[in-house]
């Protein structure tokens, strides 16, 4: 079971809204989670480190050290809800450098109580990138043969693992500057990865990743991008 997901909450809200119209029944629980989550988010000053409006704006290189954490304005498009709730309660390192630096290490992160995590998670999952199309990438495990092909896209066609750690048959290997994909399957939504690979600068104009996705180099085909996204979001899933 990978994603309950994404638009689960948005659908839930619409569902609740329709219920209200049809039967006069409100669903305060779903809505309250979002509102209270936003209050907790504000009270804990999470926005000091996380950009909450999009698309992300580019900053000159010299100013990027002012950015203290990854943007979250598209959190509901990017994350799997189950992973998010667990992580907010007990954060574990995702990146392998101190944020925004080239220094190996992890960032200590504020942890929330179970109740707070549920509300803040609901709020974050309500923040979707409306321009991202959904149901593009198949959410299924890859067969051995297709997985082999996909891994080549990740390690040879472009050397993604030069910056991203991933679980290979030789164990977890790879560079340090990109987020680790050892738990890519639990963490990331395939549609978002597919969209991000086509339009990286929309989310990360201030990152260190090359922008892939047009004729500046031997580009991936659309099918290959979908496969890459499916591959990354199957990494670290049960059975591997």
């Amino acid at each position: 079971m990978k994603r309950t997901k994404l638009f689960g909450l948005a659908k839930g809200l619409i569902g609740a809204g329709m219920l209200a119209v049809a039967g006069g029944v409100l669903s305060p629980a779903a809505l309250a989670g979002v509102t209270e989550g936003k209050q907790i988010f504000d009270a804990k000053a999470c926005e000091n480190c996380h950009q909450m409006t999009g698309p992300s704006e580019p900053l000159p290189v010299a100013q990027r050290s002012k950015i203290k954490g990854p943007p979250l304005w598209f959190a509901g498009s990017k994350f799997n809800e189950d992973w998010l709730l667990t992580w907010l309660e007990s954060p574990t390192p995702i990146r392998r450098v101190k944020y925004g630096t080239l220094v190996k290490g992890a960032n200590d992160h504020v942890a929330l109580s179970t109740a707070e995590a549920a509300d803040v998670g609901a709020y974050l999952m309500s923040l979707v990138d409306a321009e991202m199309s959904i149901d593009e990438v198949v959410d299924e495990p890859l067969s051995r043969r297709v997985e082999f092909k996909a891994e080549k896209l990740f390690t040879k066609k472009q050397v993604c693992f030069g910056c991203h750690e991933y679980p290979s048959s030789r164990g977890n290997i790879g560079g340090f500057t990109g987020p680790s994909f050892t738990t890519g399957g639990q963490r990331l939504n395939g549609d978002w990865v597919y969209f991000m690979l086509q339009d990286n600068a929309r989310y990360y104009p201030n990152g260190r990743m090359p922008v892939y996705g047009d004729e500046a180099f031997e580009a991936y085909t659309d099918d290959e991008l979908r496969l890459l996204a499916q591959y990354i979001t199957s990494l670290g899933e049960d059975g591997e």
């Binding site: 580019p58 100013q63 990027r64 450098v97 040879k156």
Partner: protein, 124 residues
């Protein structure tokens, strides 16, 4: 300059200013190198960046070594920087930067890389 002035003010306040700034401020070649290239090549260009781990297919090239750098003309370097290693039959671990950096920035980086190579036999 007006843009710069606004920016200076903006950076004094919180992250919310991000939404108001305008794109397209030029970075110096050194700023670009330290941000994008040093992660593999190291700030000094010798190839000791933090992504340089044993399991990679090749090591990030030592850009200070005459032995390596005498193989590449300026136009070849520009081509590699723009389209990635494979256009010059190098490994695809050297990424394409043409979508991230402007042609001016890439030319600046070429000159910067050239200047990192100081030993005898380095191309001038």
């Amino acid at each position: 300059m007006k843009t710069k002035y606004n920016l200076a003010i903006a950076t004094l306040s919180s992250l919310s200013f991000l939404a108001q700034t305008t794109p397209g401020f030029a970075a110096t070649p050194k700023e670009n190198f330290d941000w994008y290239c040093a992660q593999c090549h190291g700030v000094d260009g010798t190839g000791n960046g933090i992504n340089s781990v044993d399991e990679l297919p090749v090591g990030p090239m030592n850009l200070t070594a005459a032995k390596e750098m005498s193989k590449f003309t300026g136009p070849m370097i520009i081509k590699t920087l723009t389209h990635g290693g494979p256009v010059n039959t190098l490994d695809s671990l050297m990424p394409p930067w043409g979508n991230r950096l402007s042609t001016d920035e890439i030319e600046g980086l070429m000159n910067y890389v050239r200047a990192l190579c100081k030993e005898d036999g380095c191309p001038k």
